[in-house]
């Protein structure tokens, strides 16, 4: 089965999304703001894109600043699948 090409993190509001972006940038992670893909029906109008290499550390960093109400989507091709990340 193919691995995800990237992960998309979805937030409850644009304010939380920007807080998350700032948090991840402060941790030196590569992350970018993108419009919410139309296939994803939950969350605010912007979301964060990051690579599979980053995702574990990114989720830990977000949890440390009490950003827990998020949705995580794995991109495979043009599809986005909701996922609960586990690094095993």
């Amino acid at each position: 089965m193919d691995n995800p090409s990237e992960y998309v993190i979805v937030f409850s509001s644009t304010n939380v999304a920007i807080k998350a972006e700032q948090c991840l940038l402060e941790h030196g992670m590569k992350v970018s703001v993108m419009p919410l893909p139309s296939q994803i029906k939950a969350g605010c109008g912007i979301c964060l894109r990051t690579s599979p290499d980053n995702i574990s550390a990114a989720l830990e960093a977000l949890a440390n600043v009490q950003i827990s109400e998020i949705g995580l989507y794995a991109r495979k091709g043009s599809a986005y699948a909701k996922t609960d990340f586990t690094d095993g």
């Binding site: 304010n15 700032q22 109008g45 912007i46």
Partner: protein, 380 residues
């Protein structure tokens, strides 16, 4: 453009600070030319506005000692903040305690709420009678709404004692920090909700202000509309800061405010307080005891706002303020200062007072000019 004289000695900083750090105006100008709509899109111009507004929240949170930037919601003014908080929480069936020191931005939303009101009195110097608080509460008391510092006398209220009392009696404390935030230390653990303005001692542009919450509150939704998320939901999010922020935010103003607050954070509030207190004391010492001059306020307290309000015999406050401006190029504030109960209490409701309020950007030479002017006027 004809704006009249602007090269004056400006002693009306409690109304708004006129001289601000240069980076404030530069930021406003930059934002007007470069910022898109904050919180609406992913492209650089929109994201830049979102990031700088978040940075403004972070600077304000840092100044008050909060570690959560999203506990800061932006409004247009302290007045709007107090309206939203009071209308969003206070019920007609509630009993609310306030003080006679309050500005109409506190009083009128409380009157409008229809709640039962009790007012803490003050002494002849304008200091609130904190000891009377216990006698004012009843079974329906839900809120204490009060100012941290009087915009008339400059007296600072012991809010830590008030908050300890509120916590012990399950009363929610809403603090008006319009005059104090940026002037003196304001601590996150001295109230439940803080309402601030951006354009006074935070050095931000006019049209900026906000609300800081210390925990979750069940605010009624007072404004609703586009927010950049939840488009299919019928109602506005009740989370901070979304509940108070609808429509396009004032990103040029808030970027300017961010620069103003950053200036304070980098300089240190103690340094600001030390200078403004020195200027105020210089002025006070130069006029105290002058024949025909009566000064109001408690000047022996360890901390106070840089305000000296006074009356000169033979002048109403508008007459005195006009004389100061026309003959000495000195701008002050005359009248009742939107604080009707305090002026009644001080017996100054008929003629009002003239308020001299100082800022970090005033100079000793300006203060000496103010002293000379007042001596000349008072001696006729």
């Amino acid at each position: 453009m004809g704006f009249g004289r602007i090269c004056m000695i400006y002693f009306d900083n409690s109304a708004t600070t006129l001289k601000k750090p240069s980076e404030v105006a530069e930021a406003v100008r930059y934002a007007i030319n470069h910022f898109g709509n904050a919180g609406r899109s992913f492209y650089d111009a929109s994201a830049a506005a979102s990031r700088e507004i978040y940075a403004a929240r972070a600077e304000i949170a840092k100044l008050i000692g909060s570690d959560e930037p999203l506990s800061v919601a932006f409004t247009s003014s302290a007045t709007e903040s107090l309206n939203l908080v009071i209308a969003g929480l206070v019920r007609e069936s509630d009993h609310v305690i306030s003080t006679v020191l309050e500005h109409n931005s506190v009083l009128r939303p409380l009157y409008l709420s229809g709640c039962e009101l009790s007012f803490m009195d003050c002494d002849e110097l304008g200091s609130p009678d904190i000891g009377s608080l216990k006698s004012l509460i009843n079974a329906k008391t839900k809120f204490l709404v009060c100012t941290h510092g009087s915009n008339v006398t400059g007296n600072v209220t012991d809010v830590r004692s008030l908050y300890e009392f509120c916590m012990a009696n399950e009363i929610t404390m809403i603090l008006d920090i319009a005059q104090t935030f940026g002037s003196i230390p304001v601590d996150f653990d001295t109230a439940d909700i803080f309402c601030f303005t951006g354009h006074k001692s935070l050095f931000g542009p006019q049209g900026t202000g906000g609300i800081i919450t210390t925990r979750d509150f069940d605010f009624d939704i007072m404004k609703t509309g586009g927010a950049g998320h939840g488009s299919f939901q019928h109602f506005q999010s009740k989370n901070m800061p979304d509940i108070f922020e609808v429509g396009t935010l004032n990103s040029p103003g808030l970027y300017g405010l961010q620069k103003g607050v950053r200036y304070i954070n980098e300089l240190g509030i103690d340094k600001i307080l030390e200078k403004t207190t020195r200027l105020m004391n210089l002025f006070y010492d130069g006029i105290v005891g002058l024949e025909n001059v009566k000064i109001y306020g408690a000047f022996s307290e360890s901390i106070r706002l840089p305000i000296v309000s006074l009356a000169v015999a033979g002048f109403t406050s508008p007459e005195l303020a006009e004389r100061l401006y026309k003959d000495f190029d000195i701008a002050t504030r005359a009248g009742i200062h939107c604080a009707p109960l305090l002026h009644k209490r001080l017996d100054t409701a008929d003629s009002g007072l003239v308020r001299f309020s100082f800022s970090y950007f005033n100079t000793e030479d300006e203060v000496e000019s103010g002293i000379s002017a007042l001596r000349e006027i008072a001696h006729g």
